[in-house]
């Protein structure tokens, strides 16, 4: 990222006011910084500098670096149309539709590298781990789970999604890398459907 022209150009828009998309500028600068330098290598101060805003303004919008990281790197906001369609899908289709959307986002070349960065940071950085649970579990899988053992259902579904992402996009297990999306939906859809809506035999 070339930081020199960025802030100048942004500052050139004039003084911050109700019309300036300060939050948006911060998110753009944060995504660029995190993508290039990783979570640990990017400070909120550096993001403020790249966005051409005062560090206090970054803290005004985002309570913590982890919150900013997730907001900048997440592939879909909670009100994303695809997420809303998934949440309102018939309950007997949520497994298939969840895995299909998950693969669609990861296979998107503009989103995949970000999601890879999030998953890796989540495994090594506790505050990111906590934020990922917000994005993946609270905002998505928990909304698809049956009420009995709801948290266990969501956790199991999240574990399979993270494991698939690790095998396909981080570790590179050949059969999982080479499989088509349709094949992966056939393999993983029934698993997610059972975790979210089926019988888990947790009692007796």
């Amino acid at each position: 990222m070339t930081t020199a022209p960025g802030p100048e150009r942004r500052r050139g828009r004039g003084p911050r006011g109700a019309g300036a998309d300060t939050r948006g500028d911060i998110l753009v600068a944060a995504a660029a910084g995190f993508s290039e330098h990783g979570y640990a290598g990017t400070s909120m101060r550096a993001i403020a500098r790249a966005a051409g805003v005062d560090p206090a303004l970054v803290r005004h919008y985002f309570d913590s670096k982890a919150e900013l990281f997730i907001a900048a790197m997440r592939p879909a906001q909670p009100d994303d149309a695809r997420l809303l369609a998934l949440v309102s899908a018939p309950r007997d289709q949520v497994g298939t539709r969840l895995i299909a959307l998950f693969l669609e986002l990861w296979d998107d070349p503009s989103l995949g590298p970000r999601m890879r960065g999030i998953l890796l940071s989540a495994m090594t950085t506790p505050e990111v781990a906590s934020a990922v649970q917000t994005v993946l579990i609270r905002d998505v899988v928990l909304r698809l789970a049956r009420d009995d053992h709801k948290e266990m259902r969501a956790g199991a579904a999240a574990s399979q999604l993270m494991g698939l992402a690790a095998a396909r996009y981080l570790i590179g297990v050949p059969a999982v890398v080479q499989a088509s999306r349709a094949e992966l939906v056939a393999v993983y859809g029934p698993t997610l459907q059972r975790y979210l809506q089926g019988e888990l035999d947790l009692e007796g």
Copy 2:
């Protein structure tokens, strides 16, 4: 790790000969080094020094750092009695028995931290990723999989095991952390059984 007394003590055993467990000494030094400094932070030269042997001897036993890492850190050798019992288990029980053994190894306080180190390094270091596939897929899950779509079955099972490990031991998804081993066997056993031996509906 206190390196000073270690090598002296080992050197004190006398000259290396047919009776000296040189390979074993290297493995002990490697496990200590990798556990303390991680994969990237540990060189084969440093391991040789800690084991009190010539670096060429380390290379005599292990072709690469990744091979030494896996040999030193893996929770069970390929001829481990528990693995052999799993491989010879009735085919309709392999899912349940695989997840039970996996949790037994990860929950062992002397093995869990090593497995955590392996999984993390596999996600960030391609040569470790490749070695992990040897340990988890070739030596274990592939031997439990039905012949049709054998590689896909093994990859799917490995992805669920890695995702469970990530959720329970790295990211700390509360419901997955708090679940008993019996509950996790009830949730994940049927998934692994289907991946390894059930119908995947990959054609038609």
